[in-house]
Amino acid sequence: MARRIDGIKEIMKDITNELVVCNIGVPTKELFQVKDRSRNFYMIGSMGLVESIGLGLALSQEETVVVIDGDGSLLMNMGSLITTSHNQCDNLIWIVINNGAYGSTGNQTTYMADMDLVQIAKDSGFENAYEFSQINFKEILDSNKCTFIEYKLEAGNSDAPVIDLSPDEVRDRFMSEIQK
């Protein structure tokens, strides 16, 4: 089975002009290595808040926002499932990579490992909730529908290096892309 970095490669194959907001820790480093771009926002701190940042972006401008979240991080902000489902934006695609592990801290098992996140999302009010392997992601990107996606992967980190951008640089280049 594939690991997180393989999943990020799959996601980024289909990404063109979308704004991407990526979760703290190794996921951001892996995204940076797979495909750095000004339209990526690397969330370097504040575990749990990546979906919240994505929701704020999607509510406030028209471009499509893709959130790359993780199962351990979602556990920290489960309320975001309900808040997002009550404020669904057509331009928001929320991917939760579920590898059942706190990857960045040594792959400790999370309580999400054997949970059905698609069902949880449906029960939370998401009409469009899918498992990544069951969909054509490119079609979802073009669907203009608020969508929740669980991406089941194996635990494990690549050796992606630390991001060599300051937080100010990450913020400024991302904001200048939005304001274009």
């Binding site: 701190g45 808040l49 919240s52 704020g56 999607a58 509510l59 406030s60 309320g79 808040t83 939005i178």
Partner: protein, 168 residues
């Protein structure tokens, strides 16, 4: 202008157009006024920290952002204030109903009421405690300019006596 109207008018005159909230009894009237204003996006949130994430995204998309909450919610925000707001120098106006202050009837509010100013000091954030309706209006009106100039969150603590002030 009463105590709630002063905050509302201050927010409008500051140009704040995106507000997240967790309710407090003292914010009841203000929250209704914000809900009824079509020019302000109001997102009730499940937890204050989540609201800070939403405001960070909205700010990057060009919104002028604020949170309305009870001071108890500050405890839920500390990590986001440091590892999101300080890290990226995001602005934010935080308007807090400061419970556990003079006249508090619920004993459970007292410990966090006492700790609130010290928590803000510990993470190097400025706050103001307006004592009159006019001072509250002026402080809120100038709050967005201040938070963007300082490049850090700015808090307005509204203690229990503030909400009991007679109209100005």
């Amino acid at each position: 202008m009463d105590s709630s109207e002063a905050i509302f008018k201050g927010l409008k005159d500051a140009g704040i157009d995106f507000i997240v909230s967790v309710p407090c009894a003292n914010l009841k009237k203000l929250l209704i006024m914000i809900d009824e204003d079509d020019t302000i996006t109001h997102i009730p949130v499940s937890r204050e920290e989540e609201g800070l994430g939403i405001c960070a995204g909205a700010y990057m998309a060009g919104k002028k952002t604020g949170i309305l909450m009870q001071n108890s919610g500050l405890g839920n925000c500390v990590n986001a204030l440091c590892s999101l707001y300080e890290l990226y120098s995001f602005p934010l106006v935080m308007i807090m109903s400061h419970r556990g202050t003079e006249g508090e009837s619920i004993i459970g509010q007292v410990p966090m009421g006492k700790a609130t100013p010290d928590i803000l000091k510990a993470i190097n954030l400025e706050y103001v405690k307006p004592e009159s309706i006019k001072e509250a209006y002026e402080t809120v009106k100038n709050s967005w300019t201040k938070t963007t100039k300082d490049k850090k969150a700015f808090s307005i603590l509204l203690e229990i006596p503030y909400w009991k002030l007679k109209e100005d």
